[in-house]
C-alpha cells in the first residue's frame, strides 16, 4: 500500500519535470582547447597565408614527423631593411596556424633589427595567450623568424645540433633551443620546457638532460637577478615518472591561465606590479589600487560582454574576493558561470594576483 503510494507520487513528479532534452549544439562554443577568440579568428581566417613570390628571406623550421612545421617568407626592402610583406605556410594544429599568421602580422612594417627583438611571448601575447601546452607553437614562430633573418643576411641558421648537444631525440630539440625558451619565458620546471619546446614530449629518456640544462640556465638567471633562487629548478625535485603519467589527455586540459604558473613564470605586464617582486609572493596592492585596476580590466572586457548583450559592474572588493554584478543578457544565461570565469581569468591576467570572482 505504502509502496504503491510512493510509486504513484514520484511518477507524477517525474512526468512533470522530466523532458528528454533535444541535442543542442553551438558549433563554436566548445573547443578541444581553450583557445582565445583571437586564436580562433587567426585559425579560421588566417591572414597572410600562402607563398610569397618575391620573398628574399625564408625561414623553415619543424618537421612533419614532429607534428608541426612552418615556412616563413619575408620580403625585405634592401635599402630600409623594412619587412614589407610576409606570408606563411604551416603544417600543424589550430594554434600553430594562428601563431604563424600572428607572426606575419607582427613583423610586417618592422625593420629587421626590430623583428629580431620579437620573442615567442610577444606572439602569444598578440593572440591573447595560448594554452600552456601549446606554447611551443609560439616558439616555432620565433625560431622561424630568426631563421628567416639569418637567411636574409646570408647566414646559416643553426636550429639544431650546432648549438650544443641534441637533448630530445624524439623531437630534435637541442640545448640552445631549450636555453632560449627557458630564458625568454622564465621557465622553471621540466614540464614547462616540454610545453614550450616539445623536448621530453615523447619517450622522456632525455629527462635528465632537460633537468641539467634547466637548472644550469636557472642558476645563471638567479645570478643575473632574473628569477629568485627559490624559483630556480633543482635537479631531482621532480620524479619523471610522475611527469609521464601526468601527460594524460584529460589532465592536460588545464585552464588557459594557471595562477601558479602565471606567478612563477610571467611577471605581469601590469604597471602596478614590480617585475622584481619575489615571484611567489602576492604583490601588495592597496585596496584602492586594486579597485582601479579591476575597473580598468572590466572596462577592457566590456566590449565583449556588450557584444553578447550583457554587462558587468564591480560591486565590492574584499581581500581576494571580487564581487561583480552581471546584467543584461547575462542574467539567467547558462553561460553566466563561463562569463564569470572569463572575467576572473582576465582580472588575474591583468593584475597578476590570484582572485576569486563571485556574482551578486
Amino acid at each position: 500500500m505504502l509502496v504503491r503510494e510512493i510509486v504513484q507520487l514520484s511518477r507524477q513528479a517525474f512526468t512533470a519535470i522530466y523532458v528528454i532534452p533535444e541535442i543542442t549544439h553551438q558549433a563554436e562554443d566548445f573547443a578541444m582547447w581553450d583557445y582565445t577568440d583571437k586564436v580562433k579568428d587567426y585559425f579560421f581566417n588566417p591572414k597572410n597565408a600562402g607563398v610569397l613570390a618575391g620573398a628574399n628571406a625564408v625561414g623553415e623550421v619543424g618537421a612533419i614527423s614532429c607534428g608541426d612545421a612552418l615556412k616563413l617568407m619575408l620580403q625585405v626592402n634592401p635599402t630600409t631593411e623594412v619587412i614589407e610583406d610576409a606570408r606563411f605556410q604551416t603544417f600543424g594544429c589550430g594554434s600553430a596556424i594562428a601563431s604563424s599568421s600572428a607572426l606575419t602580422e607582427i613583423v610586417i612594417g618592422k625593420t629587421i633589427s626590430q623583428a629580431l627583438a620579437i620573442t615567442n611571448q610577444d606572439i602569444a601575447d598578440f593572440l591573447g595567450g595560448l594554452p600552456p601546452e601549446k606554447m611551443h607553437c609560439s616558439v616555432m614562430g620565433y625560431e622561424a623568424l630568426q631563421a628567416a633573418v639569418a637567411s636574409y643576411r646570408g647566414e646559416e641558421w643553426h636550429d639544431d645540433h650546432d648549438e650544443g648537444a641534441l637533448i630530445c631525440k624524439c623531437f630534435g630539440v637541442d640545448e640552445g633551443v631549450i636555453e632560449r625558451a627557458v630564458r625568454v619565458n622564465k621557465l622553471t620546471t621540466p614540464e614547462q620546457v616540454t610545453f614550450y619546446t616539445k623536448a621530453g614530449g615523447g619517450c622522456l629518456t632525455c629527462f635528465e638532460g632537460i633537468e641539467q640544462v634547466l637548472s644550469k640556465v636557472n642558476a645563471a638567471m638567479v645570478e643575473e637577478g632574473l628569477i629568485t633562487a627559490e624559483a630556480a629548478y633543482q635537479i631531482g625535485s621532480i620524479d619523471p615518472r610522475a611527469l609521464k603519467s601526468k601527460a594524460k589527455p584529460s589532465e592536460l586540459r588545464k585552464p588557459r591561465i594557471d595562477v601558479e604558473q602565471l606567478m612563477a613564470t610571467k611577471p605581469t605586464a601590469a604597471p602596478l606590479v614590480s617585475p622584481l617582486a619575489p615571484v611567489k609572493t602576492t604583490p601588495k596592492l592597496t585596496t584602492l589600487q586594486k579597485i582601479k585596476a579591476i575597473e580598468a580590466a572590466i572596462e577592457d572586457l566590456r566590449p565583449f560582454l556588450k557584444a553578447d548583450g550583457g554587462d558587468c559592474q564591480l560591486i565590492d572588493v574584499e581581500g581576494d574576493l571580487v564581487q561583480v554584478k552581471l546584467s543584461g543578457a547575462c542574467i539567467g544565461c547558462q553561460m553566466a558561470s563561463v562569463t564569470i570565469s572569463g572575467v576572473r581569468e582576465k582580472l588575474i591576467e591583468k593584475l597578476g594576483i590570484p582572485l576569486r570572482v563571485v556574482p551578486v
Binding site: V3, Y18, I20, M32, F43, T90, S245, P249, E251
Partner: protein
C-alpha cells in the same frame, strides 16, 4: 542544420527508451537490491532481468556469468588482476600494442611494480595482430592473454575466438576488451573458449558509469573490490541499479538493432568512405578493411594535422575525433597509429568517424560536402603540400 555526431566510439547518446527504463530506479524503486523488504525485492528482480538481457546480447550460457562493474576500465583491471591472483605461479601476461590504456597502463604498472613479464604483441600496417608472435609468447608461464575484440581507433577486429583456443592450449586464461564490439557485431560467448570479456554501457546507447565483466562459469575469479556479497562476492558495493537497468535495456535494444547496425549503419560508413576517397586525393583508410567494425571509419589525410581538421569540422557542425597528437595533449600521434607504423606524413592527419544507429543519410551527405574543402584549405596552408602533383606517385602500403 542538424549537428552531425560521428564520434560514437567515444560515447553514444543514451537511447530515450533506456532513460525511461532507468528513471523509476531513481525515484520509486530506490530500494537496495540486497534488502529483505518489498522495496529491495522489487529492485532485485529488475537487476536479475537486466542481467538476463545482457546475457542474451553476448550469448553467455548463464546469467550469473555477468558481473556488473563501473565500466570497461574496471572490468579490464578486474580481469587481469584476478587472473594473476588466481594463478600466482604464472607471472607473465600477453596483450597487444594497440589495446586501450585501461590494459596498457595496467600492464606497464604490473611490469614495474610486480615484476610481471608483459608480452606486447605487435600489429602490422593494417593493424592485424602478429599471430606468430602471439603463439611464441604463449607458455605455461602465462596467466592471461588479453586481446581486444575490436580496436577503438580503426575498428579492426581481432580473431579472439581462435586466440582464446590457443591460450587454452597452454592453460592460460583469455580475456578480451570488447567495449567497442559489444552491440555492434553478433557475439556468442558460449560457443567460444573466451574466459572473460569487458563491456561498457555508454558505448551502446546506455548510461556512463556502468559496465560488466563476463566471467565464464568455472573460471577462478578473485574479486578486486572487497566489500559485501554483491555480484556473488565478485564485486563489492551496492548495485548501481539505475545504471544496471539502463545497461540491460541498452543491451536488449542493441540486440534488436544488430541487423541494422550491420546493414544500414555499415552502408552509411561505406558511402562516407567512398565519397571521401573519391573527392580527396592522398587519402587512405587505415585498419583492416576486410575485418572491421561496421561503424568505424579512420581516414588518414596526408600533409595536414588532425586537430586543425577537427576544429574546422566542428565549425561545420560535425563531431569526429583524431589520432593526432595535438588533440590529446600528447605530442605524438596515437599509440595505435604508431604501432601500425602509419607514416608521420599521414598519422597526424588521421580522422575517425564512428557511426551509430542515430545517424542518417543526411549526416553522410553533410560530411562528404564539408570535408573536401576543409582538407583543401589546410593543404593550401601546408608547406608539404605540392598541389596534388604527387598524387600519381602516392602508393600507400595500406590502401
Amino acid at each position: 542544420m542538424r549537428p552531425v555526431y560521428l564520434d560514437n566510439n567515444a560515447t553514444t547518446r543514451v537511447d530515450p527508451a533506456v532513460v525511461a527504463a532507468m528513471l523509476p530506479f531513481f525515484t520509486e524503486q530506490f530500494g537496495n537490491a540486497s534488502s529483505m523488504h518489498a522495496f529491495g525485492a522489487e529492485v532485485g528482480g529488475a537487476v536479475k532481468a537486466a542481467r538476463k538481457q545482457l546475457q542474451g546480447l553476448i550469448g553467455a550460457e548463464h546469467d550469473h556469468e555477468v558481473v556488473f562493474t563501473s565500466g570497461g576500465t574496471e572490468s579490464d583491471n578486474a580481469a587481469i588482476l584476478s587472473a594473476l591472483e588466481a594463478a600466482p605461479e604464472r607471472t607473465e601476461i600477453i596483450t597487444s600494442a594497440v589495446e586501450h590504456p585501461a590494459i596498457l597502463s595496467l600492464a606497464a604498472h604490473l611490469e614495474k611494480t610486480r615484476d610481471i613479464k608483459v608480452h606486447i604483441i605487435p600489429v602490422d600496417a593494417r593493424g592485424r595482430l602478429d599471430r606468430d608472435a602471439y603463439r611464441a609468447a604463449l607458455s605455461p608461464r602465462v596467466a592471461i592473454a588479453s586481446i581486444m575484440w575490436a580496436n577503438n581507433e580503426t575498428g579492426t577486429l581481432f580473431p579472439v575466438a581462435e586466440l582464446a583456443e590457443e591460450a587454452k592450449a597452454v592453460g592460460a586464461l583469455f580475456h578480451t576488451d570488447a567495449v567497442q564490439a559489444v552491440g555492434k557485431i553478433p557475439i556468442d560467448l558460449k560457443s567460444t573458449a573466451i574466459d572473460m570479456l569487458s563491456l561498457s554501457g555508454h558505448k551502446l546507447h546506455g548510461p556512463k558509469g556502468i559496465g560488466a565483466l563476463y566471467v565464464k562459469r568455472g573460471v577462478r575469479f578473485r574479486s578486486q573490490i572487497k566489500g559485501g556479497q554483491q555480484e556473488r562476492g565478485r564485486r563489492g558495493g551496492t548495485e548501481n541499479t539505475p545504471g544496471i537497468i539502463g545497461l540491460g535495456k541498452a543491451a536488449e535494444l542493441a540486440g534488436l538493432h544488430m541487423t541494422e547496425e550491420n546493414t544500414r549503419v555499415k552502408s552509411l560508413r561505406d558511402r562516407l568512405e567512398k565519397g571521401l576517397l573519391q573527392r580527396i586525393p592522398n587519402t587512405f583508410i587505415t585498419g583492416d578493411t576486410d575485418h572491421r567494425l561496421p561503424n568505424t571509419c579512420n581516414i588518414a589525410c596526408e600533409y595536414i594535422e588532425g586537430e586543425a581538421i577537427l576544429l574546422l569540422l566542428n565549425r561545420a557542425g560535425i563531431a569526429a575525433s583524431s589520432g593526432s597528437a595535438c588533440t590529446s595533449g600528447s605530442l605524438e600521434p596515437s599509440h595505435v597509429l604508431r604501432a601500425m607504423n602509419i607514416p608521420y606524413t599521414a598519422a597526424h592527419g588521421a580522422t575517425r568517424f564512428s557511426f551509430s544507429r542515430d545517424n542518417t543519410d543526411e549526416d553522410v551527405d553533410q560530411v562528404i560536402e564539408a570535408m573536401p574543402p576543409i582538407i583543401a584549405k589546410l593543404r593550401e596552408l601546408s608547406p608539404f603540400w605540392d598541389g596534388g602533383q604527387g598524387t600519381k606517385d602516392f602508393r600507400p602500403i595500406y590502401a
